[in-house]
Symmetry: C2
């Protein structure tokens, strides 16, 4: 165990909950609450002054919301752990917060039994999440649908050329790169267009990147 207490900072606009969390934290000698605030307008100054190792951040705060606050903190510090506390478990809030740079995401209803454990977990390289949140996060990754097993029946050569095209190479460069004639490149690209059902480089590249064909 650590010999020095972990420094925490709490943002939560509901006073009752703020007191509950403070009480929870005080139960463990591992932690010291360096501050708790009901709004997040001066988060940058407060974080720099109080030097917390973990921030507990409500998502729905007056003025600037918790997600904006996460972005703000991440703009000058990328090592502080930020745990989001929320009543929402809807897709948008969760993913926005995680993309903004949150390290973990706890539903408030699990707070009493999970808070202490979660703080330890995040300090040890984990990413604590309530079960439903974890599912959302995984679902988000899965909807990047992998390579779709060559949905459009492109041949190996066609895929190579589409990939090169997607990097911004001209027909001439592609021809040089693969050691084939520019007319051959034309032919391949014509076939690619037919298979992808597009009519221009840009459409093909857009489709290729968005559908992870390359």
């Amino acid at each position: 165990m650590q010999t020095v207490s972990i420094r925490l900072l709490l943002y939560e606009d509901n006073q009752q909950l703020r007191e509950s969390v403070s009480a929870l934290i005080s139960l463990s000698t591992d932690f010291v609450l360096t501050g708790s605030f009901g709004e997040v307008l001066h988060v940058e100054e407060q974080v720099k002054n109080l030097q917390p190792e973990v921030i507990l951040m409500d998502i729905d705060l007056p003025g600037m919301n918790g997600i904006e606050a996460v972005k703000k903190v991440r703009s000058f510090n990328s090592s502080i752990y930020i745990l989001m506390l929320t009543v929402f478990d809807d897709n948008k809030h969760v993913l926005d917060a995680i993309c903004a740079g949150a390290s973990g995401y706890l539903l408030k209803k699990y707070l009493p039994e999970k808070l202490i454990e979660s703080i330890h977990e995040v300090m040890n390289g984990g990413a604590p999440m309530s079960p439903g949140i974890a599912r959302l996060v995984v679902a988000q990754l899965q909807q990047l649908p992998a390579d779709q097993a060559n949905k459009y029946q492109l041949t190996a050569r066609e895929k190579e050329i589409l990939a090169s095209l997607s990097k911004g190479n001209s027909y001439k460069l592609i021809a040089a790169h693969f050691g084939i004639s520019i007319d051959t490149v034309r032919t391949h690209i014509k076939h690619i267009y037919e298979k992808l059902q597009v009519r221009s480089q840009t459409e093909a590249v857009s489709k290729a990147i968005n559908e992870k064909l390359v």
Copy 2:
């Protein structure tokens, strides 16, 4: 609690571990192991015959590996829960498996204390992951870096036009869509190219999509 046991299916090439898992599972009356195999070549047939609700899948199997097996199962069934069991916690295996459609991901060293709990968790809409795995998954989401606050100083109009271009629209279509002349479109696109430091539509679109500018 459920009144009927949850049907499990196990793929694991190490016989010792296979027996350990069997033993673990038999400790709980909530589960029934409908089968366990050392290789995954006939996974489709086995899954269809044995009708498991949860599959426990080692990642490193002879013949077809666990990730391929996940894809295979997902190709005909999207509701079975698949828990990956692995000694790896490296980025690539984890993310490949999750993108392939795994529902959770357990490091083998945590198996004894976490397996039962994890099966319950996945059945209840969660996505059980070892702490380090959760961190990897979150990190993957975070590296999609949001919009970068207009890194290239594009104006509002330029962003609109770049977005339209990225959908595969021609100059002519863009002009019609925005109700401006095609020469104006040219001008905007010229400026976009200068700011993005590219020299073609394809390069611009590639950059726009990959860096999430649109």
